[in-house]
Amino acid sequence: MITSPKDFFEEIGRFEPISGLFLTYTLDRDVIEKLAEVCPGTVIILHDHRHGVSLEDNHRHKVVCLPVAFSKEHAQHCFHPKLALLRNETEAMIMIGSANLSRDAFVREKELVATGRMELDHPVCTAAIRFLENLAGYLVNGSDILLDALKRFEVRSAHPPEDPEKHVFFNQTQSVFEQLDGLLPREQVFESIHIISPFLPKDSNFLEQFRKRFVANKYRFHLRLSDKTTQAIKTVFPDAEIVSPAGNSSFHYKAYIFRTRQTDYVALGSANFTTQGFFRSAEAFGNMESMLLLPLPASDQLTTWLKNGWKKPVAMADVLADDSAALVGEEFQDTPLPYAYAEREEKRTRVVLYLPESFSIRQLSCKPALFRDWEPMKDLPGFYEGYTGICQQVVLSSRVPKWEQKICAFDQEEFRNLYTYYGDSLFSESDKTNSIRSKELRDALHRSGRSVRVGHSMIAQRPFLEQFFRNLNTRLEFLGRKRYFSAWHESELQSVLNAEEGGVGCYQLLKLLQFFSRHPAGQVMAQLCREQFGKYRSDERFRQMDLDALLEVMENNHA
């Protein structure tokens, strides 16, 4: 379904995400600031390690940028996906397209994005989560931040929805070409194939493979220039047509449309039609890319879309072959500049500095001063690590050349607290007298007491059990409004159950078990409760009770 142009930031703001993960090649502070404005929840940005920025303001530990770097052998690769995975209270949203989080993408370039809202256990969401989990190994720092965030997205449900037609895919082990080969119908002659890409390959071998696999009556290349293409394209597709944008417009998006009489298969995302982007997997020294394949019923809407805004097609014979950088340059790469990241640890602040190879800084000073000199990070060329005292802000500067960066020290604990603040915790309470954790509750009651008015007097008392029962019931009411329970909620439940014992613990466990057994999304949580029940069976204090009968009653009796 193709709709009118959308404001990327407004779409995000309307969704009101409690957590957002963004993947980009390049990024700019202006865009980060805007994201922080429109996202009420946490913002994690994964970017290519050569294009980072130092965050002078992390919006009270709400925003964190994590560079992705490959090993030395893969150093020439780009981390190139452009994807946003967001979740709010009830659902997930994926935005996949061609736009980096850079100013140019939102100011100058024409970019395409596919936006879909879905259940948290939708296979598209699950595929994105799996891919992101694999990326944790490539992060320079903060893999635990990413994995923790993913746990909050991941929902294990007994009956996930099925939607076999929509595919989000990544090219870690198989190239975009290989994956399309597997996903698109075989032995079919397509009516037409449209390749929309600002950049083209120089290697004709790959193009021949493409032509052999995807046979079509008509090939059309949508390029930035109407009078030039690469020699390889001209050789392999002598019968193709070239179209370029009408008027003064240009484009940066990448889309591959395979048209049949009944269905239009639209693949769009970050991969340019180049050797690095389209024909190689990340493992085979290609870029890392993200793509989406959608089968759409054949419609005039797409025909109109492919006609409007484009000039009339030009035959390949009338086009010059030119392998200059303008056509084959994968992306414009700014000269990498240094940047740094600072994170508060228990008794110190860790500073990670990226200094590009071609960049030399003499007399780099750090405020507060480093404990020891910078140390190069293992297997990460250009990255250096240092430690300084506890501080809010680290200032790195050099006199020659004049260079200064202020880095707001990121606090993971504060970042995690934000999830609780935005209501993602099942059992956390700011007022501990409402807690269902017995130790927490006892302490809070001990400190504050609960007062009861009797006639004209106030009687302070500590009615632990009454308060505990009340808290548990209130909490179960709150849990009843939840639609999903994530992997992180599972670990939260586990910690609550582990901490309790005796009669209070047993009662709590049975009530939670009863609740989760009834909840449509609570199967995994109920199973966790059942597994915990073993510790009460072996408890001497319960030997005169028929615990199994009790369990049976709580699980099956809805009274």
Binding site: I2, P5, E33, E37, P40, L112, N248, D334, R399
Partner: protein, 358 residues
């Protein structure tokens, strides 16, 4: 579940004026290395207002579902309060954001009638930097004002007669309270002007006291702080932009030389001499401020709009999107008699000193 495919609507960032080599963006950042404020907020009253608005939000003194909506509405209320009781045109050319003949509806955030992106810049970090130097902001204790603002935020809807009457009543009440932010004309009271001037001075001093170039900059602008309202904007700019110990002079030479050389290419005239001049200014900048040269050279052979670099001929030519008028604007800047292609942030600095001067 359906995916909707759409083009992304262009977004205007405050500094996103089209220019092929990204000079505007560079100059904004380079100016920011010495002057810690946003060029978008040229009236000191904005700094107090942003601090106040953020404080209300952080202390949860106002109930806000969407911070962006809240900030936009407060910004509109501020401008309405500045315009209240004045001629529609009285505030024009007075460095106030959003003054227009269109009706400003503060009951709605983004109604398509307001430059939303300015708001993002206005509430950005560089605006709050100076306020860190203002001691205990007593404005924050005005409980009656907070009550009125709460009432205002609870009202929503179009700017019809009923709402306009409510708004005028609110503005009257704010006026009676002698509000420090929401006052006609947006002028600061004397004590706040004093506070701001001192904060501006301290923030610039702290930013520049560690480096040699910073010290040069400080010594240049120090006398202008004494001049206050009588400051001559042109003199301040000439002193800073003309000083050869600062990167501004050399960066301006570099940018102007490049624009002149490219312009000759575009006109098909012989451009050799101009390219040689550019090469000289590039070498000068590189020798004195290598970091600045590095930042500037990034986009030279990859202009972002209007013009195209032809690597085969080594000349620039007009692109399909060439915008004659806007390009001529750059050529004029490059050719002006002071050799000043960009003002960096000196214009805003002068304006802030004048506005807060005693």
């Amino acid at each position: 579940m359906d995916f909707k495919i759409s083009l992304i609507k262009p977004v205007e960032f405050e500094t996103s004026k089209l220019d092929p080599f990204g000079f505007d963006e560079y100059a904004e950042k380079a100016g920011g290395e010495f002057m810690p404020f946003a060029t978008v907020a040229r009236k000191p009253a904005y700094y107090f207002f942003i601090d106040y608005t953020n404080w209300l939000l952080e202390e949860k003194l106002v109930e806000v579902k969407k911070p962006v909506e809240y900030r936009l509405r407060m910004e509109k209320l501020l401008v309405r309060s500045w315009m209240y009781g004045m001629d529609r045109d009285a505030l024009r050319a007075r460095s106030i954001i959003g003054v227009s003949t269109r009706r400003i509806n503060p009951f709605k955030g983004n109604d398509g009638n307001w430059v939303v992106n300015t708001c993002f810049r206005l509430y950005g970090n560089s605006v709050t930097q100076i306020m860190q130097y203002v001691p205990e902001f007593s404005l924050q204790k005005q409980e009656r004002e907070i009550g009125l603002l709460r009432e205002f935020l609870s009202m929503e809807g179009p700017l019809d007669k009923r709402n306009e009457a409510k708004l005028n009543k609110l503005l009257d009440q704010l006026k009676q309270l002698k509000s420090r932010c929401f006052r006609s004309g947006g002028e600061l009271i004397l004590s706040d002007r004093r506070l701001f001037l001192s904060a501006l001075k301290s923030s610039i001093r702290d930013k520049n006291s560690d480096s040699e170039t910073g010290k040069v900059f400080l010594s240049l602008i120090r006398p202008y702080f004494e001049k206050g309202r009588h400051l001559n904007r042109e003199r301040l700019q000439a002193a800073v932009l003309g000083n050869q110990q600062l990167p501004f002079y050399w960066a301006n030479q570099y940018m102007a030389a490049l624009v002149r050389a490219v312009d000759s290419d575009l006109d098909g005239k012989p451009s050799r001499a101009k390219w040689d001049a550019f090469e000289r200014s590039r070498k000068e900048l590189k020798a004195r401020f290598p970091m600045e040269e590095r930042k500037l050279s990034g986009k030279i052979t990859h202009p972002s709009c209007w013009i195209v670099y032809d690597s085969a001929t080594g000349r620039y030519r007009k692109g399909a999107d060439f915008d004659e008028n806007k390009w001529n604007g750059h050529v004029n800047n490059a050719g002006n008699s002071e050799g000043r292609y960009h003002a960096f942030r000196t214009g805003t600095l002068a304006q802030l000193i004048i506005e807060s001067g005693l």
